[in-house]
Symmetry: C2
Subunit: 193 residues, 2 copies
DNA sequence: CGAGAAGTTGAAGCGTGTCAAATGCAGTGG
DNA sequence: CCACTGCATTTGACACGCTTCAACTTCTCG
């Protein structure tokens, strides 16, 4: 409901991969009762508040509100699309593109839930977090962020991210928001420049 | 129903990332009618036969067979887990581990659908396919496969893969099949040695 | 004010990519 | 049946993006 969390997995030797970021409103796990055990971990990156929903109440809610079931299907589709896009990000893109792409994704998702104002949003991640999400070293993240700043694509500091020309950053990243299937209130995705 | 296919996405400059492999019995897309357009492509890697199911007949089948709906939920959970594991593979593992891990995954999945006999299975992938799945260059795939052969972890040639000691390969890859949630007929996963 | 975490910088090393070319192999047409 | 063709695989040499290591500095917060 509030705050940032992430899915992650630790390898035997201590390497950590962040698998995805969960933002306010995101669903963590619908089927805990089916699989019984998660194959990964979830952690809060900021103070966060989380709601638990019993499958009984969820089922009755879906019975009374058919569009809720539809919304949850839609949520799964988008989550899967994001995970596929991360696969592409890690598999094909350079460090520069990777970081730019991740920032684009987070920015658009935050925008979709009203957490972007004046092209600014909070980004409560350490450079180590960014490193573990992009499969890079924290040191290289640092240098990549410097390069992004040098090209005036972002301003990042004090946990605040500012993207002056979104289109430029998206082009540099090869980012296309179609996969997120996000509808923006009061304007269209193409209005992001 | 038969043959190998894959999901993939092409970047603007021609880079290709294979996002996942679809094996016989796998579901490609349940909700085409909801999202209308796919954000990626699917291609056959071998001659393949595919069945289309209308949402009408699927819904009626699920109505008559409650366990079918359960099975499809289970399928989505496993698919999501595989995609997360690919994220880890591409983000954290070395070339050697990546290839070993991918071969482990495919081997176990093929085993689950009865396509492994005497520790052998078909692997109708080119080295270029493996490269695009693991985010490596085809040349480095070639050298990595040679190293895997040199360590007697695999035999691969003529589109046939042989894994003499699965446990050894899995250890080298950091592979744990738990995320696949596969039940083996007539034996347990730990029987794979 | 002190201490630990986060961010920054420089130098050196290495894993993987790129380029170029040779070899092997399967399908095709004469 | 064989020469031809094109794709897959293999090999070697070299380049480079990113990692590692080792400081140092700057923040944050009790």
């Amino acid at each position: 409901m509030a705050g940032w969390t992430c899915r992650y997995k630790l390898l035997a030797d201590g390497r950590r991969q962040i698998i995805s970021f969960l933002l306010p409103g995101d669903v963590c796990e619908l089927y805990v009762d089916i699989i019984h055990e998660l194959d990964h971990s979830v952690a809060a990156l900021t103070p966060a508040s989380v709601a638990r929903i019993s499958s009984a109440s969820l089922n009755s809610a879906m019975g009374q509100h058919p569009r809720l079931a539809q919304a949850l299907i839609w949520e799964r589709i988008v989550t899967a699309a994001i995970q596929r896009e991360w696969t592409i990000n890690l598999g094909q893109r350079s460090a520069f593109e990777r970081v730019a792409h991740l920032l684009c994704e987070l920015f658009v998702r935050l925008r979709g839930i009203g957490l972007v104002q004046n092209r600014r949003c909070e980004l409560p991640l350490t450079q180590t977090d960014l490193a573990d999400a992009t499969g890079l070293s924290a040191i290289h993240i640092n240098r990549t962020l410097q390069e992004l700043r040098r090209q005036d694509l972002i301003t990042l500091g004090g946990k605040e991210l500012y993207i002056p020309k979104f289109k430029s950053l998206a082009d540099a990243a090869g980012f296309n928001d179609k996969y997120l299937h996000i509808k923006y209130p009061n304007d269209e995705s193409s209005n992001l420049r």
